[in-house]
């Protein structure tokens, strides 16, 4: 429509490299408790996708069941999302990515959804190294059913009712490394800078990005005696080093002392700089990564940061050698063999 009069001057909207403002990355209003760690993670996801300039129309969101699994409704409204069944989100995500391998997948799970009912699908997702950002919003309890222990609750941690957990925790990061995930990180919902850098690096990675985020449950697991409370997490966060992410589209040179920092070139040309805290630690060494997790846990702490990364590891979609065009959009001419093929098959059966 043409308009002869000049428009009133509006302050330019802040936009990212694909001209979208941050509102384009938001979702519906959260229905989780005020102060829930999951809401902070949602904010970091919004910021990371905005800052990376990801087109939300190129993203598919997945979740299982639980408080965590509600959160994909709270970010990236322009993206298709699928809230599936308890513990089985990996298979939904796998199928959707098989149908359209050109999309970026992000799945949000919880510690019960992953560590208990979903441990089987978790294992095989990691093993396949399917390109998917898989976030565990880890609060050590079942919030939606009022605070029962989950499999990531630490031995000796106390529930709100006073019951003490008498089983050891499953370390989802150690498990993921062992099983074949090519990007394994742990963070804390309260560590904005670290979580943001990890999420941006995950967007740049092609392979399973398993990110366990300690995310306190303010209603059922934020008390004295819990090892997943805000206070405990703040005191026992054990960063393995600073994580700095430089996307491929930013012209930034990072000066670092060789030997003190590991520089990783990502699939899309972005760079990840991981400053070492320990001399002998290398995030590309599986054994060292698992040892680090165990040592930190034995001190009653939890190691955070980029625990393990293998930027060039084969991923599941590549091993299937599919055509470039998404399978979902192949037409009849591409998927129905000719009459001659049927004749050949019939001749073979005579």
């Amino acid at each position: 429509m043409s308009d002869a009069t000049a428009p009133a001057p509006v302050p330019p909207k802040k936009v990212n490299r694909i001209n979208l403002d941050v509102a384009s990355y938001r979702g519906s209003k959260t229905t989780l408790c005020a102060g829930c760690g999951h809401n902070a993670i949602t904010e970091r996801i919004i910021d990371a996708f905005y800052e990376m300039g990801v087109d939300p129309k190129r993203v598919m969101k997945f979740s299982g069941i639980g408080c965590s699994s509600k959160s994909p409704a709270y970010f990236l409204n322009p993206s298709h999302g699928f809230n599936s069944v308890h513990g089985r989100m990996p298979s939904i995500a796998t199928g959707a990515l098989l149908a359209n391998a050109s999309m970026l997948g992000i799945g949000v799970s919880g510690d019960g959804d992953t560590g208990a009912i979903g441990i089987g699908q978790f294992v095989h997702l990691m093993r396949r190294n399917l390109p998917l950002i898989y976030i565990i919003e880890d609060n050590g309890c079942y919030g939606l059913t009022k605070g029962q222990f989950s499999p990531t609750a630490d031995l000796g941690s106390k529930a709100k009712s006073g019951v003490v957990n008498d089983l050891p925790a499953i370390d989802t990061c150690a498990l993921a490394i062992e099983l074949g995930a090519s990007f394994v990180a742990r963070s804390f919902s309260g560590d904005k800078k670290q979580l943001q850098a990890i999420l941006k690096a995950a967007i740049a990675h092609r392979g399973t990005c398993m990110i366990d985020v300690i995310s306190p449950c303010v209603t059922f697991n934020d008390h004295e005696g819990s090892t997943k409370s805000y206070a405990y997490a703040k005191d026992h966060d054990d960063p393995v080093g600073e994580v700095q992410f430089v996307p491929f589209f930013e012209d930034i040179t990072v000066d670092y002392e060789p030997g003190s920092t590991t520089a990783v070139t990502m699939h899309d040309g972005s760079h990840l700089y991981l400053r070492k805290v320990a001399e002998d630690y290398s995030p590309s060494d599986k054994m060292a990564a698992i040892r680090l997790l165990h040592e930190s846990a034995s001190r009653g702490e939890f190691a955070t940061g980029m625990i393990y990364i293998a930027p060039d590891q084969d991923n599941f979609l590549d091993t299937l050698h599919m055509v470039e065009k998404p399978l979902a959009f192949l037409g009849e001419s591409e998927t129905r063999p000719s009459r001659a093929v049927l004749d050949e098959l019939m001749d073979g059966l005579r």
Partner: protein, 613 residues
């Protein structure tokens, strides 16, 4: 109506010298002894001679060591269902030989391994002792090979005793072993040695004989699972996720073979599909639903235990309205039941598989050709209705070898269902609700990720027409009622039943799936032996179309023939039919793990009909 005990004297019959092209051969061997090639060669040779034939493998849940039986029925009239009586027995398994012989009807013939001395067991059978070891030893000195070619010796013996053309056997054998010239030569020698032994030593005393006929020209021999795999390929399936389970595995395994050969992109050599062996059936259906949600034609194949595991996801797909195709190659239950025996035992549980109010479309293939055509139709229906479609095959249909006319080329354009386009969105005035019934058929329009169309958030049933979260009672009821309307629409698009209704017939038969061949034969038996003319309605889908109720209304009594104990289809019919018609329904049930046979149906019907004679 006449009863079985007819007062009419049997017509005088000329002394029968030959029974031509109408008998059943049973070969009893040990599982894992490599008898499959030998049995297929007999089957194919008879088929090549123009005689209608069918082959059924009765095998144990075992890799090697347990007894297994292969039954070949030749029938000039074209009856290809199982026949109860065995006319010609090949007893190769010492463990079962006594029982195999004792269960034969008088006058049957037995080829057996000489050291078993089976001829001492009965005097009313015709025995042909064959010294298999001696014959095989002359063919090869290699002990391992001797074991493998032993079975070809009985093929040679049968060639002589049953007049099966040796040239046709050699042709069939070279098809089986074509790419292994050494094995072929060795087997040929065993075949000829067996025949020569028989010619030199046996006077034919039995009446059974194969003679050339012209009733198989142009036809094919195929298993239902391979047929279904072809149907999936020609229907343009792109995502397949599966987990191994008998008797389903040969469907996805055949499909892998076909797709690798015929569905690689010609210019890039890359796959136009993804086939994944999942970690379990739950993951398999999850992948299928994920793929269907994202717009791919996706399927899985399983059997009863897998269908049970998939129940939760099937309900989600029903409510979230995601297309998915599930093949259920039925077997007897439960997981540790008789996994290698056939049944139609999943009908009732699958029709409502899941929790909450759930209804699923079932397709009921009755032949290998329908395994092929319905495989293709299932995707159109699943995408049109945006729901789960089960294709209910069974072990007998899926794993046994059936004769068929060659399959038609599928040239009906694929129906990808209501996927919103820019034009459609304009037509709707720019507003779209994922679960809004704008066409009055209960089927909403959907959008796919990765397209410019508006997105939505998928959840189970807690959503309104706009796919927004809601727990409002009125929204829930509205949604459920629309889903019920959609199921009514299903009745207009599922395959209609096949009905044969001779004028004046008062008794009807309703059957489905692999029972069809036995029913066709039984109707002829009822006509010939009891002068009972019957109508026949073969169900091809659930939900039932109005023709089913009309059929029941037209007849005094309707026998529902099925291969389960609980009359599962009859119960589904009762749920749907006018209550006044329900007293007309009766059951004929067959559930011993063996494929249904005509005699059992005829006996089941005449026994009940005698009350009305």
């Amino acid at each position: 109506m006449s009863s079985l005990s007819s007062s009419v004297e049997p017509a005088p019959v000329a002394p029968q010298t030959h029974v031509i092209n109408d008998f059943t051969i049973q070969v009893a061997t040990v599982n894992g002894s490599g008898s499959q090639t030998a049995n297929i060669v007999i089957l194919k040779a008879i088929f090549q001679m123009g005689v209608p034939v069918s082959g059924k493998n009765l095998f144990p849940s075992n890799i090697a060591g347990l007894p297994t039986w292969y039954t070949i029925r030749a029938n000039h009239k074209g009856y290809i269902s199982r026949k109860k009586e065995i006319d010609f027995c090949v007893a190769m398994n010492a463990e079962t030989a006594n029982e195999d012989v004792m269960s034969l009807r008088p006058g049957a013939a037995v080829v057996y391994d000489e050291p078993l001395k089976l001829n001492a067991l009965r005097t009313d059978l015709i025995f042909y002792p064959v010294p298999f070891d001696k014959i095989v030893n002359a063919v090869t000195t290699d002990a391992k090979l001797r074991r493998l070619v032993r079975n070809m010796v009985y093929d040679g013996v049968l060639s002589h005793l049953l007049n099966i053309d040796l040239g046709e056997m050699e042709k069939a054998l070279s098809k089986q072993l074509g790419k292994k010239p050494k094995a072929l030569q060795l087997n040929m020698s065993a075949l000829e040695a067996g025949r020569q032994f028989s010619v030199d030593n046996f006077q034919i005393q039995h009446p059974f004989k194969i003679e050339r006929l012209n009733k198989t020209a142009g036809q094919i021999l195929v298993e239902g699972n391979a047929a279904a795999a072809m149907g999936c390929m020609f229907a343009g399936v792109t995502v397949v996720a599966w987990y191994p389970i008998t008797p389903s595995s040969s469907l996805p395994e055949s499909l892998i073979g076909y797709m690798r050969k015929y569905r690689m992109d010609k210019t890039t050599g890359k796959a136009t599909f993804a086939i994944v062996q999942a970690e379990d059936e739950i993951a398999a259906i999850g992948m299928v639903i994920g793929a269907g949600w994202a717009g791919a034609r996706a399927m899985t194949s399983t059997s009863g235990p897998g269908v049970s595991l998939m129940a939760e996801f099937a309900g989600l797909a029903y409510y979230a309205e995601v297309p998915a195709v599930i093949f259920d190659i039925q077997r007897v239950g439960p997981s540790t039941g008789l996994p290698t025996r056939t049944a139609q035992g999943d009908i009732l549980s699958t029709a409502v598989n899941s929790h909450g109010d759930t209804q699923h479309v079932l397709l009921l293939p009755g032949s290998v050709e329908e395994c092929y055509t319905m495989a293709a139709e299932s995707f159109d229906i699943a995408e049109r209705l945006q729901t789960v479609v089960y294709v209910m095959s069974d072990l007998d249909l899926g794993m046994n070898t059936w004769m068929s006319q060659p399959f038609p080329y599928l040239d009906k354009p694929l129906d990808r269902g209501k996927v919103l386009s820019e034009d459609k969105l304009k037509e709707l005035g720019g507003t779209w609700g994922r679960y809004k019934d704008v066409d009055g058929d209960g089927i909403p329009w959907r959008t796919l990720p990765g397209t410019p169309m508006p997105a939505f958030f998928t959840r189970g049933s807690g959503h309104n027409e706009m796919a927004q979260y809601t727990e409002r009672p009125d929204d829930y009821v509205k949604n459920l009622d629309r889903l019920a309307r959609k199921f009514d629409t299903a009745k207009t698009i599922v395959p209609a039943p096949v009905i044969d209704q001779p004028a004046g017939a008062k008794v009807g038969i309703i059957a489905y799936g692999s029972s069809d061949f036995a029913v066709l034969e039984s109707r002829d038996q009822l006509n010939a032996e009891a002068s009972l003319e019957t109508s026949y309605l073969r169900l091809r889908a659930y939900p039932f179309t109005p023709a089913v109720e009309e059929f029941v209304r037209r007849h005094d009594r309707v026998y529902v023939v099925e291969q389960n104990r609980d009359a599962q289809m009859l119960k589904l019919l009762r749920m749907d039919l006018d209550p006044a018609l329900q007293t007309k329904l009766r059951s004929v049930l067959h559930y011993n793990g063996l494929p249904i046979d005509a005699r059992s149906i005829s006996d089941g019907i005449t026994a009940q009909e005698s009350a009305f004679a």
